[in-house]
């Protein structure tokens, strides 16, 4: 979703070139030539889109409807099996668990990322001393390579030597097996993911807050509205368009998270923290036996879920533009 939108504006050849148009109108040879030219300009973008978006998508579908064993992959003679791989995925005992984990991971992550991000954005809006520096520090999770932050979280949550358990231990709490117990593994990776997602929410919501004119708040305080009332009657409603986009982008980001979970638990113990994205990755690359067909099938299910929410996003946007 995000990437497709970005690419529409991306090819630099189109932008600047088109900008210089008025300077060279002398050798116009009629509509045919200009249509060719139009096609010429569109061609790089089309080639790019087909090569990097349409083909991989098509290939993913192609993989999922054939039975690509490794031998078939090399020899290129995979048998067409239709939706058999999808049926296998849907009837697998791992599917409901993975779907549930994906839902919990995504929803809990987004709710907390948004709530904390919004709270921080409102907090930083008042622009006290050093607020700029503090705000910059909150961006650190975003700047760190994921492998670094995920490994650090894994160390902190280590059952025996982790700092989290040693702090809790000082208060008499018994050892919690954060990453190695089926009860807490999903919670642990979700906590790490919330921490990672806060800066994104903070930045977008903070810039949204800048667009709310200060007079509104002045008027409200003249009318005797306190901070709490101002938040619920002004900030929150006026921020709604930005909030909707933040939540939807966050949802699409979170659905496809692999790295954090893979580094911290590899989806384990057992399947306790396996989401759909982890499942797909594991089938394709996580074992000694690449199983591309079911991996592609799970991947396509994820794409469909993301698409549904993507359309929801577009629908919301349209309604906003109309109003």
């Amino acid at each position: 979703m995000i990437t497709t939108e970005a690419t529409a504006g991306a090819p630099p050849g189109v932008g600047p070139g088109a900008g210089r148009l008025p300077a060279a109108p002398r050798r116009r040879r009629g509509p045919a030539a200009s249509q060719w030219a139009a096609a010429g300009f569109a061609a790089p973008l089309l080639v790019y889109l087909i090569l990097f978006y349409a083909y991989p998508l098509w290939r993913n579908i192609d993989l999922s409807v054939h039975d690509y064993t490794i031998r078939a992959f090399v020899q290129g003679n995979a048998e067409f099996v239709g939706f058999e791989k999808y049926a296998e995925v849907f009837t697998s005992a791992a599917f409901p668990a993975a779907l549930w984990n994906t839902a919990v991971f995504t929803v809990v992550s987004i709710v907390f990322q948004y709530a904390i991000g919004l709270a921080l954005a409102v907090f930083f809006r008042s622009g006290f001393r050093l607020s700029g520096a503090l705000r910059a520090m909150f961006l650190v999770p975003w700047l760190l390579p994921l492998i670094v932050s995920a490994s650090t979280w894994a160390w902190m949550l280590n059952s025996d030597n982790g700092i989290v358990n040693s702090v809790l231990g000082a208060f008499g709490v018994e050892q919690i097996n954060w990453l190695t117990s089926p009860d807490t593994a999903l919670l642990s990776v979700t906590i790490a993911n919330i921490w990672l997602g806060i800066p994104f929410n903070l930045v977008i919501l903070y810039s949204g807050l800048q667009n709310i004119p200060g007079e509104v708040y002045e008027a409200a305080s003249l009318d005797g509205a306190g901070a709490w009332r101002q938040f619920w009657s002004i900030t929150f409603p006026l921020l709604r368009p930005v909030s909707a986009i933040t939540l939807l982008l966050g949802l699409i980001y979170t659905l496809k998270v692999v790295d954090v979970i893979w580094i911290m638990t590899t989806g384990g113990p057992g399947n306790a923290s396996t989401t759909l994205a982890i499942w797909s990755y594991r089938e394709a690359f996580g074992t000694g036996q690449p199983d591309f067909s079911p991996a592609a099938a799970v991947g396509n299910v994820l794409i469909v879920i993301a698409l549904v929410f993507g359309f929801l996003h577009l629908q919301l946007q349209r309604r906003q533009e109309e109003s």
Binding site: E5, A6, A8, G9, G13, V14, G15, G17, A18, G19, R20, L21, A24, P25, R27, R28, R29, A33, S34, W36, A37, A38, G40, F41, A42, A43, P44, I70, R71, F73, V74, Q75, G76, A154, N158, S159, D160, N161, N177, L179, T180, S181, P182, A185, I245, M264, T265, T266, G267, G268, P269, G270, N271, A272, F285, T287, G288, Q289, P290, Q317
Partner: protein, 430 residues
């Protein structure tokens, strides 16, 4: 994001001038030209291109072009009168790259690959057999060669082997009054763990992570109980998993072993707190440099004797080429790597690979007599894809490490976990 889309639209609607179109078209041709020439050069490189350049892939990205290892590879090429173009990938990437290259018919001339992946590649028909290439494999230890044998044909030669042993911290054991020589079976090991733990130290650490490494570390206990990979829920298999589970429950092993990789395990052992650690030949140097005195003993079987540990290490493989005339030089390169001197040199270049032939082992022991226990361990070791498992092994292994994870984390009892694993393995292989 939304912003840029709206900006882009008005531009595209304007009528562009033809001169600009021509410029753009030229630029496009230029770009495509550059791409295709770059592409063909790369493809040519992968396929071996001309007759004097041979391509070589290995899983040692830590050894760059200036390293001893790269020098060795080059020397073998020079001996055969060609230049070798070496590319290093990490292990998992290498398997995927090899499969992709085979699909495109651009396989390199030589691949060095982790042994359990050999049967998977052989199964696709992308590898030549040693007979086709004319290689002599008579000297290679059978247990080490087994990983390269699929359906009676041999598809490669191990360039060296490593395996697991039980490292111990002599200071901790002395403190707990445990004699390492007294550890001969599971009971005596568990008793030693109890003594070490009672003495205020930590018992043992191993890697139970949910990847191939987890299976690799569990197999010595699994095989040491007499279990068979075709029968994951046998009473012997359950006994092996109960042994691990018991260590966790009794506090002899830390709970974090469930997520431990072999590297993490080793770091834990190097803290000096642990009495024992299961780890491989590749840590010999590191053990010698530890702050405490470290030793090794063979992994014990359930009722005594040495448990077969799985073999690690790479095979040298020659993928099928369209131009079969290339095989002659390829054979010379492979032979250069697999002479007794070649094996010893490899053993020394990498942190202690044990040569896979008796001659090579004898030559290595002459230089490094300390490695005697490791040579013995390698001789007792067993290929993971042996017993005619071949390409079925990865499927079984995944079921096995999942069972280990489920049992250790308490999601299921060892019995239940292995029963599920057997069902999963059967379903995966049907």
């Amino acid at each position: 994001m939304h912003h840029t889309v709206q900006h882009a639209r008005p531009h595209t609607r304007r009528k562009p001038a033809t001169t600009l179109a021509a410029v753009a078209a030229l630029a496009l041709v230029g770009v495509l030209g550059a791409c295709s020439s770059g592409g063909s050069a790369a493809a040519g490189g992968e396929a071996g291109g001309d007759d004097t350049t041979y391509t070589w892939w290995d899983p040692y990205p830590q050894h760059d072009d200036a390293s001893d290892w790269a020098g060795r590879v080059q020397a073998c090429g020079e001996e055969a009168g060609v230049t070798i173009e070496r590319t290093a990938y990490d292990t998992t990437a290498l398997t995927n790259q090899a499969l992709l290259a085979a699909q495109e018919s651009t396989s390199p001339d030589v691949i060095l690959l982790d042994n359990p992946a050999v049967s998977t590649l052989a199964d696709t028909g992308m590898l030549t057999t040693v007979d086709e290439l004319g290689l002599d494999i008579s000297g290679v230890d059978e247990n080490l060669l087994a990983a390269g044998v699929v359906g009676g044909e041999t598809y490669g030669i191990p360039i060296g082997a490593n395996t697991l042993s039980l490292y111990y911290n002599a200071d901790v054991l002395k403190d707990a009054d445990v004699d390492p020589a007294s550890i001969t079976d599971w009971d005596s090991l568990t008793a030693a763990l109890k003594a070490v733990t009672d003495g205020g130290h930590k018992g043992i650490t191993f890697a139970g992570i949910g990847t191939e490494e987890g299976s690799f570390q569990f197999l010595p206990w699994f095989w040491g109980a007499g279990a068979d990979l075709r029968d994951l829920d046998s009473p012997e298999a359950v006994a092996a998993l109960e042994l691990w589970k018991g260590w966790l429950d009794d506090g002899y092993a830390p709970n974090s072993v469930i997520n431990n990789s072999q590297n993490t395990t080793w770091e834990e052992f190097l803290t000096g707190d642990f009495g024992f650690a299961v780890n491989g030949t590749w840590q010999v140097d590191s053990a010698a440099g530890a702050d405490f005195e470290a030793g090794t003993i063979q992994l014990p079987g359930r009722d005594g004797g040495v448990a077969p540990a799985p073999t690690g290490g790479e095979f040298i493989l020659a993928p099928v080429q369209e131009d079969t005339a290339r095989y002659d030089v390829t054979r010379q390169i492979v032979e250069c790597m697999t002479t007794p001197e070649g094996f010893v040199e490899t053993a020394n270049t990498f942190a202690y690979y044990i040569p896979p032939t008796a001659d090579g082992q004898a030559a290595l022991l002459e230089e490094k007599p300390d490695l005697e226990p490791w040579v013995e361990a390698v001789r007792n070791a067993k290929g993971r894809t042996s017993d005619d498992l071949g390409a079925d092994y990865p499927v079984i292994s995944e079921a096995l490490w999942t069972a280990v994870q489920n049992a250790l984390s308490g999601a299921a009892t060892p019995q239940e976990a292995l029963k599920t694993a057997q069902a999963d393995a059967e379903a995966g292989l049907s």
